[in-house]
Symmetry: C2
Subunit: 594 residues, 2 copies
């Protein structure tokens, strides 16, 4: 099947004199999760991972992805000609230099400009110039190949009410309009879907796991445009938007409106999210800046923080009930990883404002836990027994917030020293970073290593970043702050500020043996102000017991033991009002002081 699709693509390439084709994993909005319509890379390669780029020439089909996906790739693409090309840094466009080396002078590369940001095309052009390699825009390349391609989503759009958003669209728009004034520009153009959802307080379910709306937005000093199919809105919300001088216009109208702007008009936009087709369509002048909305949105307001805390409590209740079920059920039978994932979701569904999972839950038993972005298949996933180690990374979308939590638990038998050393090193790293006090403005790359130091001491490490921002009923991986190993990544170079929500999630993976990860969401807060500046610290919001059976207690300092006992006290205190007597008894046992 993949062979036929690649052959059809190669025939197309030959007919168009294209020497190579680059198919990334994204959509016109640089989304992480995309609507089925945009799953071109999956269609042509079979690889379903959320990060990866396919490059096709007449001789080669290479899939570039990073170490988180190597095992998944081998599994999904083993019967195809697609080769794994190993990226050393996640999301780094390492394939560009490789492709330029491979191609002859004056070669032509096909791309769909909509799938690439302005920054990405600039990066490619900086590599292609020397050999005079050309890019050719091919927006219709899949038209006659992917016959049964799904439609673009067209679900009803909900207004995200003030009780969850904490700020009106009018107030948010005013901030954008002030920036337009300040920079003496005429418009601010937004194309990142999470920014548009935040700015207009709208939500829908266009893509899996993320309650976003496929749209563009052009904010003017007085008049604004939201490009999104009109029939998706209720009449009352169209009227409400009209009150704010916001016109709802069809999604495709962006292609005709942009070229209509006069040459004199200045448009602020973010080159990291604007797609190159939009860039090329505009006659006016762009002023490229980091998106103001991205920055505003990363700082949570009091309502969003309250919502996040509620969600953590709901997640904690669901997880407690789930873990009780799992323990009891494993006494009676073995259970598939897939069933475990579905059952966990069923407990979350009982919680208020639940709308769905925030990503595909990872339920990895023993060696499967070492596959960092593992998804248990619906059929023939591993059977979990009453022994060994189980990693569960899951999250939910609630109308008042988004969650993401990982726990690794021991199901029975005697854990090896190797497992306990790794598990304890991971938890010590989590505590080290969570307890850090650091100057406001410190970047992720500067402090990421605090979560690694106890692993390093034992010759261990993990091949992914230590954490990411998280949205408020938005994207589970929200830009821009985080903790990343690469000092050149966005998460590595973005300053941490107060009132941001970020995950801390160190891990340790031994292929075919086990995977360990412990993840909480933390809130950044001002903890000190001195002549040397403002200092921040973190408060853990996630509420779920941490399995103490796997701890090598002799590796812990008194202060680390204090942290664990204090955290468990908080978990019991916050969750117990929502649990019955038996559940409370179980939780207290799991949370008893060590």
């Amino acid at each position: 099947m993949i062979a036929e699709r690649l052959q059809a693509l190669r025939n197309y390439m030959a007919s168009k004199n294209l020497d190579a084709f680059i198919i990334p994993s994204t959509d016109p909005h640089q989304s992480e999760y995309v609507a089925d319509y945009w799953k071109l890379r999956e269609y042509f390669s079979g690889f379903t991972g959320s990060a990866g780029t396919l490059i096709v020439t007449q001789n080669i089909a290479g899939l570039w992805t990073d170490s988180r996906y190597f095992l998944q790739f081998e599994d999904e693409c083993k019967h195809t000609e697609v080769q794994l090309c190993k990226q050393s840094i996640p999301h780094a466009p390492e394939h560009v230099a490789w492709l330029c080396d491979l191609l002859n002078e004056n070669a032509v590369i096909g791309v769909d400009y909509r799938q690439f940001s302005k920054s990405q095309i600039d990066y490619i052009l900086s590599h292609t110039t020397q050999k005079q390699i050309q890019l050719q825009n091919e927006p219709h390349f899949a038209k006659d190949i992917w016959i049964d391609r799904p439609e673009l989503p067209n679900f009803a759009i909900d207004v995200h009410p003030l009780e969850f958003s904490g700020e009106t669209t009018a107030s948010k728009l005013a901030k954008v309009q002030a920036a337009i004034e300040k920079h003496q520009a005429d418009y601010y153009l937004f194309s990142a879907l999470d920014e548009i959802a935040w700015l207009f307080n709208i939500r829908s379910r266009d893509v899996d796991y993320t309650p976003l709306v496929t749209a563009y937005a052009l904010v003017g000093k007085e008049q604004s445009f939201l490009f999104c199919n009109t029939q998706r809105f209720s009449e009352s919300s169209i009227a409400a938007f009209k009150q704010l001088n916001i016109t709802i216009t069809e999604y495709d109208a962006i292609a005709t409106l942009l070229p209509g702007l006069s040459r004199q008009q200045k448009i602020i936009t973010d080159a990291a999210s604007l797609n190159y087709a939009c860039f090329e369509a505009v006659e006016g002048q762009f002023m490229f800046q980091n998106s103001l909305v991205k920055e505003l949105k990363a700082i949570k307001n009091a309502v969003e923080i309250e919502g996040a805390k509620n969600c953590m409590r709901k997640d904690g209740v669901a997880l407690t009930k789930f873990f009780i079920w799992l323990e009891q059920e494993l006494e009676k039978r073995t259970i598939s990883e897939y069933e475990i994932g579905r059952k966990l979701d069923s407990f979350r569904q009982q919680q208020e404002y639940y709308t769905g999972e925030s990503f595909a839950a990872i339920v990895g038993y023993k060696g499967n836990g070492a596959i960092i972005h593992y998804t248990a298949p619906e059929v023939n996933s591993s059977m979990v027994h009453k022994e060994g180690i189980l990693l569960i990374d899951s999250g939910a979308q609630y109308k008042d917030g988004t969650t993401d939590i990982t726990r690794t638990i021991w199901l029975g038998g005697i854990p090896s020293t190797k497992i306990k050393t790794a598990y304890t090193g991971v938890l010590k790293g989590y505590i080290e970073l969570e307890q850090l006090q650091f100057p406001q403005g410190t970047t992720g790359a500067q402090i990421d290593a605090f979560a690694r130091v106890h692993l390093w001491k034992n010759g261990l490490n993990f091949p992914h970043g230590t954490g990411h921002g998280i949205g408020s009923f938005g994207m589970v991986h929200e830009p821009a702050q985080g903790f990343a190993i690469g000092p050149t990544t966005v998460r590595g170079t973005t300053p941490h500020l107060a009132n941001q929500l970020t995950t801390i999630e160190p891990g340790c993976y031994v292929p075919h043996q086990f995977g360990i990860r412990t993840e909480n969401i933390v809130l950044s807060k001002v903890v000190n102000e001195t002549d040397f500046g403002t200092f921040l610290g973190f408060e853990a919001l996630t509420l779920c017991y941490i399995d103490t059976q796997l701890l090598a207690v002799e590796m812990l300092t008194a202060s680390e033991i204090g942290w664990i006992n204090q955290y468990h006290k908080l978990v019991v205190e916050k969750l117990s009002p929502f649990l019955n007597t038996e559940e409370n008894k179980w939780l207290q046992q799991k949370c008893k002081a060590i």
Copy 2:
């Protein structure tokens, strides 16, 4: 005087229709310390700091430098029109965007291309293009202004013998030639003076503090050229170079030889050190790469490491004798900071292979210690009494190595809690980073913060990087590895590898009150090899007591106390054979276990 010079420059600018002039602090080799001939920025501004860029327009004279130099600037430039422009990141070209904002479209900026690297001009051009601002090469702008400009240095050149270098020029050249073959190039062009000194095993005294030779080098597959005035070499060394197919050619001949290369020839060079005048002179094709010699030189061989250890022992002996002298002399009289610096140097002069200081010693009493790059003036420097705090940062060039050490000592009275907290936080940070085990290839920005974390906990910090590489009878600040706060700096992004020498030097500064810094040189070594990779650790090579009077012992963990006692045991053990009985008694007292 500065006013007259600036006026003359402005007259020149007017005659040439220049709207601005950029005068950096460097020479055609991107040197940190430059020969007097190249001290143009000092000549036109009066500012003598080692980092800073002067920008002159008809209305403004602005000196861009970072926080290490703010107090020094205020002192040196207070009677001039020169304004301080504060850089937030050391060495970052923040003035470029500022200048482009200031100037009108089509403005012309004068520069001497020799003073800018290819990378720097590219950076400037990336900012000037939008407003069509032009750069104009002005190599002779100072000719009729700076009448008594010093000559370029012309001292005799010494061969650096195998007993100190540990590797022959033939062996080093072979590695460069292998790289030329590998990249199918014809030449490797070097212009960084420390790289040339290392590659050809030559030393001289062209600039203060650094035993380098003003030269360019062009290495070919068989024939190589060293551009450096012929009369500086002995006949025997010219003959020895001839045996290696190395031709000594006059320094200025670079300007005629480069244009003579054919268009077909490929030259590998480092855009970060190649000056733009050389870049423009070449007809052939450049291949820009990080300099191979910079990478090779940063890994010390066994002879260089042995030399470094000898130098640390010699420095330790000199410092011990000096501190004894200081303590005894302060019983009798007060002593100026300047005299203290000279006296310290006199103790080092008694050590074998001493050739000079490796930088201008910093002797900062009380508030002067807070001026990070303070130099005590020869006349009217502060008088040091038998009380309070004194910071001394100094180093030497020995033929077998280069040293750099900082100690902060207490001279009498009762230290405040504030001082003790800061001092203890600094030492805890030093220990934290020195004791770290980390994967080979970890960059400086990833682990710099380990030296800060104990200061951060107390609301303290320091506004400079935590350490730098150091040469072997070479530059005291040697690229490229180090520990830097900025994730985009060279020291922040360079991987640490085994057998490198690097300083660890956290500090804490309270203006007008005190400065604290503790600095050792450490050697990186492989400490573990596992399935997760190769792990490095550091070994402290510097040997000098650390003043325990300033420690808040209650802030120290048992393991930190263990480190201090173990280090002091080592200091006594290594230095005692070179001290007399009385000196030994004194040192044992300073090093007694806490």
